[in-house]
Symmetry: C2
Subunit: 300 residues, 2 copies
């Protein structure tokens, strides 16, 4: 049986929030994704780091169920991102981006990764997302993320990948930009007509709404009394979502809804610390407890 393959970024993040500040901690979409997914399934990582990525940094990625065969080390420096959040925690202000080795990232899928059961294409150039798809046997589920930069600059390439995708996971502003429409129900119909049967729209502190075929599912985010850093919440969501889905017998409506809850559970842990500190240390029991807390939060 194949595994869950993710292609994305590994970065060194410097982040300031009203609750603290960290310098060059391990971040990036693939990092948060793998950490969250590894609680549910085996994960294969494809990403690139520079020569400055230390053994301490590597230790953050190295987990029992994470295969690092596809982590390429290239001459140069690791991708760096510096950002700041105000009290309105759902909007990061980017202070500095240094793509470094990520700028020429050209994902090569190792031989042992070429029959994934599920594939998550994190937010990278749609042409690279397509390149990944061409290197693997068609997985049973292909999901992807993207961002306004590609929506504005590479819409044709993005539409080509979307045609091949089962699931698109993006935030509300991106969905509105992609569908060129403010109404999410109308946006969903437009995007679904382009390929992905399932559209998952992340709304930060307000939760998630999923459009799957003709159905809708909405889940509020878990109200927390302490948040530290929202960085990576969306990728932790995707990791929990895809990880659970990979462990489910079939990606049917019921599994997709449960996957949205597990994704939200992992995101709720991710925001409780900087980097993956809290997320990585969570226990299966804590995951089960928060899943039940979501049920209590939403049942009537």
């Amino acid at each position: 049986m194949g595994e869950l393959l993710v292609v994305g970024s590994v970065a060194l993040d410097s982040v300031k929030t009203p609750f603290g500040e960290v310098d060059e901690v391990v971040g990036g979409s693939a990092t948060f994704f793998c950490t969250a997914a590894s609680f549910f399934t085996d994960v294969q990582l494809v990403a690139v780091v520079g020569e400055d990525f230390s053994s301490d940094h590597l230790a953050v990625l190295a987990r029992d169920r994470v295969d690092l065969t596809g982590l390429e080390r290239k001459p140069g420096r690791t991708f760096r991102w510096k950002g700041e959040y105000s009290y309105k925690l759902n909007e990061a202000k980017t202070l500095d981006t240094q793509l470094n080795v990520f700028e020429t990232f050209h994902p090569v899928i190792p031989e042992s990764y070429r029959t994934p059961s599920q594939l998550f294409l994190a937010n990278i150039d749609p042409e690279l997302q397509m390149l990944v798809l061409e290197q693997v046997q068609r997985p049973s589920v292909v999901a992807l993320d993207t961002m306004n930069f590609w929506i504005e600059g590479k819409i044709a390439g993005l539409r080509r990948v979307l045609k091949e995708a089962d699931i698109l996971i993006i935030n509300d502003g991106e969905a509105q930009a992609l569908g060129d429409n403010r109404n999410l129900v109308q946006v969903a119909r437009i995007i679904q007509s382009w390929g992905p049967k399932t559209l998952i729209i992340k709304r930060g502190e307000y939760g998630v709404v999923m459009f799957h075929g003709g159905t809708m599912f909405a889940l509020p985010a878990f109200p927390l009394d302490q948040l530290k850093d929202p960085t990576g919440a969306g990728d932790a969501f995707a990791g929990g979502f895809m990880g659970f889905l990979a462990s489910a017998p079939t990606p049917d409506e019921a599994s997709l809804r449960q996957a949205v809850v597990y994704g939200s559970v992992m995101a709720s842990f991710a925001v409780q610390s900087f980097s993956t500190d809290r997320l990585a240390a969570v226990t299966q029991e804590e995951i089960a407890q928060r899943y039940e807390a979501f049920r209590e939060l939403t049942t009537f």
Copy 2:
């Protein structure tokens, strides 16, 4: 048995949204509240209008289960509000406010209204809210709304009414201003310590979160493919919420949660037209159907 008493405003609204425009249609907090509540229980209205409030206007308020004994007609013009919404529908831009007869509103509770089972104090001066409380026998449930204007200008008076209240229903920005804190869980603890055991925070298109004692309940708003005018959504929510609660045997946790859903059902109809056009014309069957649609939307 007593009834549901509401004290609030009746206005003539001129509203422009991306989906149309209306001139001097019947609006105001008490109007939306009564219309929504009347599907669940008998409602007693206390409000003031001017000499220009026509029989056509009155016909909008006059409903089978709405008692208009407390609708005072005073010399002068009816309260007028003029506002505009951009595509970001959760923020109204006020273009003009003419308080007119509402400026000197001094609610007098008719004899026949003095033993209400439940009381909703819509958004008016906290001192007037207190004045209403003093005129009635203590109802089993007292709920109130307020706004930033009173939070900033009359906090002492507001704190006095809050001490007497069971339920506070406000939007998220108001809750954050009142609790002087961005975190809603912390805000809830602060406001609960001042009196109301139940805090309901409206988040516009994102739905509602309720803090009741030590529990939390969150409900997304219903994703609609057509919205016309968000004016009155919050008051229609309060009307559906209080109306259902008045019809429930006890205001326990289960009833409160169902009341939040019925409130959200009525709000979802209110935004589908200008004024109360859609809300007033809804059927019991449509209410039941949308309640079930909320269940499908949120169940996992």
